[in-house]
Amino acid sequence: MRLYAVVAAGGFRRYATYRTATAAGVFTNTVFGFILAYTYIALWDARPQLGGYDMAQALAYVWIGQGLLAACAMMGGGFEDELMERIRTGDIAVDLYRPADLQLWWLAGDLGRAAFQLIGRGVVPMLAGALAFDIALPGSAWIWPAFLLSVLLGVVVSFAVRYLVALSAFWLLDGAGATQMAWLLGLFFSGMLLPLPLFPGLLGEVARMLPWSSLLQIPADVYLGKHTGWGLVEAYAFQGGWAVALLLAGRLLQSVATRRVVVQGG
């Protein structure tokens, strides 16, 4: 356990090193937040209470999304490029030799990264949004820890999906296409572009059942007080269930991959 804590701390410090890049990311998140906020204002002006949100809640949703974009690695940018590169070059053989579990190792590093990006990339856009717009704030103090737990589960689901995508490099070698498809689906089905309750009919029902809703829709709903009591437990169970299922799928795929794939190199 100590080992993984060290790896997580390393992940945190590694991302904390690039301060200019973090500031640039915050700036970009904030600009996008403004653009999105105005489109939502137009939408909720025309249809108040759309999707069960009022205007302040819809605006809060926008800024939660910008705040979580980096932490949940919704547009990629996590560990997956590095892992895929190691698979492609054959360095993965060395990793498999190490006295550490491959999946837990990368999970620890990614949690460290997410922790930094939640603070470094999340707090300032949220504050900017709260200052510039009239956004909904949590009704009571206990919502904050409940929200953070939901975010944590979201990050684990996000990791588990990206781990599966990265493992595809064992077969595809060049995982650029798979990565691109994964973040496109993630961006759309997490509710980043539009809250999932606004998706019509079957598309909406499917979207709400997919793992990506754990990344933004559920944490945002927890923040907005849509899940309380048993509803909150159910939301956690949904996120946790996907996290466990996808992590197990990752282990399964990893064992298949390491058994049948010949490592690249001489």
Partner: protein
């Protein structure tokens, strides 16, 4: 895009004539020289892309799908409302189509400039400086990605849909405005890309700031100007004149009033604005290139 390549970048040292064959090459005006070099490098990358045809088809489709989600979002919004900021779906589609096509065109031709920050950081820009070819042409053509054509196709598809569904009172001027706004729009975005690249010399790690203006600008222009705060509209009209990409010309075609009380003929300034910002971006690029000091001890 001529005006963005028209500037003569490159350090003075790269103009030393070599042998006699080299001399003939140098006699061409720098603009043509730059364009020729750009074409050659692009041709090389296209040939290398075509070595993996299946991969090319898939990534092109991926690029097309990537931007299609943007438009799908707008369509989903319109399942709940009839108008957004007073604009109907076909009208928003026209704004979207113009902005996406112009941006796609620019992204295809100059999108590689985003990578400049990396070259400045690791010092590989040096390689480009010693070649007898304008640096701007080299940076713009670096790793030219033909798959970005997918974005243009998606933009054009939405544009065609908008033109087919809209009931526009066409005049010759409005018809002429269509190609003009797409091309000058691409040039305005091009100027933003070049200026952004110049900025990357100064703030090496901050390449993401550029995305706020390029991708952010493209997203902003997909929605009608009426939904944004007046100050924001002023900013993208007078400071970073992105409004000339789609808002002003498209509103002229649609016979709509621009939220900022500007006369209608301002829409025709789009090419002028494109040339002006292109020249400014070129100056910024020259100044930035002069400040370049390679990495290392």
């Amino acid at each position: 895009m001529a005006e963005t390549v028209a500037v003569r970048p490159g350090p003075e040292g790269s103009r030393e004539p070599g042998g006699s064959a080299y001399f003939a090459y140098e006699e061409r005006p720098r603009v043509l020289e730059g364009l020729r070099a750009y074409g050659l490098i692009v041709g090389m990358w296209v040939r290398s892309t075509m070595a993996y045809r299946a991969s090319f088809v898939m990534t092109t489709f991926g690029n097309l799908a990537a931007t299609a989600f943007d438009f799908l979002t707008i369509v989903l919004m319109f399942t709940h409302v009839d108008a957004l900021g007073g604009y109907t779906l076909p009208e928003v589609a026209l704004l979207y189509g113009v902005s996406a096509t112009a941006f796609g065109l620019c992204d295809l031709l100059l999108g590689s400039m985003e990578r400049l920050g990396r070259r400045v950081r690791d010092g590989t820009l040096d390689t480009l400086l010693v070649r007898p070819v304008p640096v701007l042409a080299q940076v713009a053509a670096d790793r030219f990605a033909l798959r970005r054509i997918g974005r243009i196709l998606q933009g054009l598809a939405v544009l065609v849909y908008a033109l087919a569904t809209l009931d526009i009172a066409w005049t010759p001027l409005k018809v002429a405005m269509l190609p003009v706004m797409v091309i000058s729009g691409a040039a305005v975005f091009g100027a933003v890309f070049v200026a952004g690249a110049a900025f990357q010399f100064v703030a090496q790690d901050a390449s993401q700031v550029q995305s706020a203006f390029t991708y952010g600008g493209a997203t902003l222009l997909q929605y009608p100007p009426t939904i944004f705060a007046k100050d924001l509209v002023r900013g993208v009209t007078f400071v970073v004149p992105l409004a000339f990409v789609s808002w002003l010309p498209t509103l002229y075609v649609l016979d709509r009033d621009y939220p900022l009380d500007l006369p209608q003929w301002v829409a025709f300034l789009a090419p002028v604005v494109a040339v002006a910002v292109g020249a400014l971006a070129g100056l910024a690029w020259r100044a930035a290139l002069r400040t370049y000091r390679s990495t290392g001890s």
